[in-house]
Amino acid sequence: MSVARPPGEPRRVAYLYILPAFVIYAAFLLYPIGRAVQLSLYNWDGLSVGTWAGLSNYAAIVADEGLRDAFVHALVLVAFYALAPLAIGLMLAAILNHAKVRGLGFFRTVVFLPQVVAMVVVAVAWRRVYAPDGTLNGLLGALGLDSLTRGWLGDYTFALPAVGVVGTWFETGLVTVLLLAGMSRIPSELYEAARLDGAGAVKEFFAVTLPSVRGEIAVALTLTVIAALRTFDLVYITTRGGPGTSTSVPSYEVYHRAFGLSQIGSAAAIGVTLTVAIFAISFMINRFADRGAS
């Protein structure tokens, strides 16, 4: 160790510095993940000795129609949780940023408000809104649209979209505020230049605003897509996967199988699959954003 090194060169002692953090990370993240992977290879009821199952729990995810549907439902929710809020958020943020409205802080707070309310509370409130004698049907009735009223969460066609709309309502604020922050950093010279070149408001949006907030869009998409794929509380409170199985999602199946049916191996396999799927999708979103930036 007598050889002098230039400062900043990697040294082995550095591992020592990250050891405390790594131990905690390993104990609370790596070990549980490894354990979950291990459990997913067994048939285990949580009480007696588990029996080796190999990859059969994973094969069941592909073979079991109900489980396959659960993953499809999660993808449908992505449209409601991520894509719709992104479209609405871009529009809202562009308007708020452009119009320099008075009381911007107030609007920002209002739009962001759903995010500060616990999801369980949100779910209970929306359950009332969707009830057969709830707010939504009351509104439709007042408009003379009685033929459209129904028990929204008990309707086979509308239960999943109804759950999705709650997600849109919930995530739009977050996306808007993120995009607003990004847009406020765009130098006004860019807009002036665009205007001199004869760009209208729409052209300006696509030529200046949209490319400038690429990074924020990636962050917003990552957060909301993950939220969509791991949806649990909303489904647990509003529909418990019903009617029939039309709103079942993977996270709910994990809970249901582990604690309801005592099929811990199967639950772990779904959890691991979901983790891999989330990881892959987030990775792709960030790849897309990085490539755009360079």
């Binding site: 067994y42 949580g46 000795v49 309707d155 529909t239 199985t245 604690f259 049916l261």
Partner: protein, 456 residues
């Protein structure tokens, strides 16, 4: 980023190997103890002479009258046996269910636990050898004389946990419950009707209520399971009770694909077609439904006795309760019903004698009186309790009649570990006309057959 060096790869690989090496089959670290069934001679019932003992008890009696009776009985027990100290841990039903599993697989489980009757709870614990068979105590304390068979079978399993409803006794419940028909007496009177005495009369009443513009029957089926109780009630009119028992206990030898079951499913669909249920019932929550009924929306509600106290607060004398009537007024009663969670003794408890004395104390004749005065429905001696006329008396009478005539049939969701879900979802499909009665029954048959075959 520093590119991965061979050394770092080696570390990663070593970590993976270490993980694999320490990995043995889950659950193998704590082998289940052999369930020791003590010989009757070894049983001691002289609780006062057992020396100083501390009993740890896990229960779920956290709400209103439940909490009150438990507190009162525990205090009385400690006063009578100063040598036995009680350490009570009480949690809500859901919390107890999710934590009990871990607690029982530990080395020092609680002495007495309230375990849910079904296969995924009590059945799984029996299979893992975690609960002590109570046959010897039942004999010593005379429990089999005090409790009707149709009640005791809900906490009976074969020693290997495979057969539900017979074999060893593993627990004793305090309270009973039965699913029947609640009615709004004021509405019946204004329709010119009496509480129905036969199933025909009941259906005629539904039709008359519909004609008069009332909601004949309230149902909130958003939570998936509530329609199970409605279907169970209809099934009890159409299918022999013994067959329902075989199906519901998940034993071999019965089938869902029978003309009787088809008739029951069809009757339910007919009710939907005739508009006997409230609009949008599949999207209505369970609680909002019975709350709407107690506010005067709906003439009938098929539900369990557990709803009585809350609904009586609002409806008062206008609330009535009957067992589901049969083909004739004097037909023997058949009703879905069961017990509250039974109290069981863990296999590893070092003080089974004291634990049994405790269970006997909270379920004896005096305890049943305490249960009555705290607003619960005692599981034994029900018809000997004096309660004021009204819905409470209706409920006591109904449960007494059902148990005395062995007229309780088990909850259908007991059948297999997955049946609550299968049946709940299938019923939503049936009621929304996404499935025909035949398709509905085929779904149930598949789950039932698969389990009954594999269970041997």
């Amino acid at each position: 980023m520093i590119p991965p060096t061979p050394r770092r790869r080696a570390v990663l690989a070593a970590t993976a190997v270490a993980l694999a090496a320490t990995a043995c089959a889950p659950g193998s670290s704590a082998p289940p103890p052999a369930a020791s069934s003590a010989a009757p001679s070894a049983v001691r019932t002289d609780a006062a002479a057992l020396g100083n003992v501390t009993l740890t008890i896990w229960d779920q009696e956290v709400r209103g009258g439940q909490a009150a009776q438990m507190k009162q009985l525990n205090a009385a027990f400690e006063a009578k046996y100063p040598n036995i100290k009680l350490k009570r841990v009480s949690r809500s039903f859901d919390d107890l269910n999710t934590t009990l599993r871990l607690a029982l697989s530990g080395n020092e489980p609680p002495d007495v636990v309230e375990a849910n009757n079904g296969r995924s709870s009590m059945g799984a614990f029996v299979k893992a050898g975690q609960l002590r068979p109570l046959n010897a105590y039942a004999e010593a304390y005379g429990w089999k004389k005090r409790y009707p068979d149709s009640v005791l079978r809900y906490s009976s399993y074969s020693a290997d946990g495979k057969v539900f409803g017979e074999g060893n006794l593993y627990g004793l419940p305090q309270v009973g419950e039965v699913v029947g028909i609640f009615y709004n007496a004021a509405k019946l009177t204004s329709l010119g009707l009496q509480p129905p005495k036969t199933w025909e009369e009941f259906q005629a009443a539904l039709a008359k209520a519909k004609g008069a513009g009332e909601i004949p029957m309230q149902l909130g089926n958003l939570d998936k399971w509530p329609a199970i109780h409605v279907f169970g009630t209809v099934q009890g009119r159409n299918v022999p009770a013994a067959q329902i028992g075989t199906l519901a206990f998940g034993r071999k030898g019965a089938s869902w694909n029978t003309p009787d079951n088809t008739k029951a499913a069809q009757q339910l669909v007919d009710w939907v077609d005739k508009g006997y249920f409230n609009k949008g019932f599949n999207g209505q929550g369970y609680d909002p439904a019975w709350q709407a009924f107690s506010k005067g929306q709906g003439v009938f509600l098929i539900g369990g006795t557990w709803l009585m106290a809350d609904m009586e607060k609002v409806l008062g004398k206008n609330l009535g309760f009957i067992l589901p009537p049969g083909a004739t007024p004097d037909a023997p009663p058949v009703a879905t019903g069961g017990t509250g969670l039974p109290f069981a003794i863990t296999a590893k408890s070092p003080n089974p004698d004291a634990a049994a004395a405790y269970i006997d104390f909270i379920t004896n004749a005096d305890a049943m009186k305490v249960l009555t005065t705290t607003g619960n429905l005692p599981v034994a001696d029900t018809d000997q309790q004096s309660v004021p006329a009204g819905a409470q008396q209706d409920v006591f009478k109904a449960f007494g009649t059902a148990t005395k005539n062995d007229g309780l049939v088990p909850y259908l969701d007991y059948a297999t570990p997955t049946f609550a879900d299968t049946l709940g979802a299938a019923l939503q499909d049936l009621l929304a006309k996404k499935a025909t009665p035949q398709e509905f029954l085929a779904t149930l048959e598949k789950d039932y057959k698969a389990f009954a075959e594999s269970n041997g």
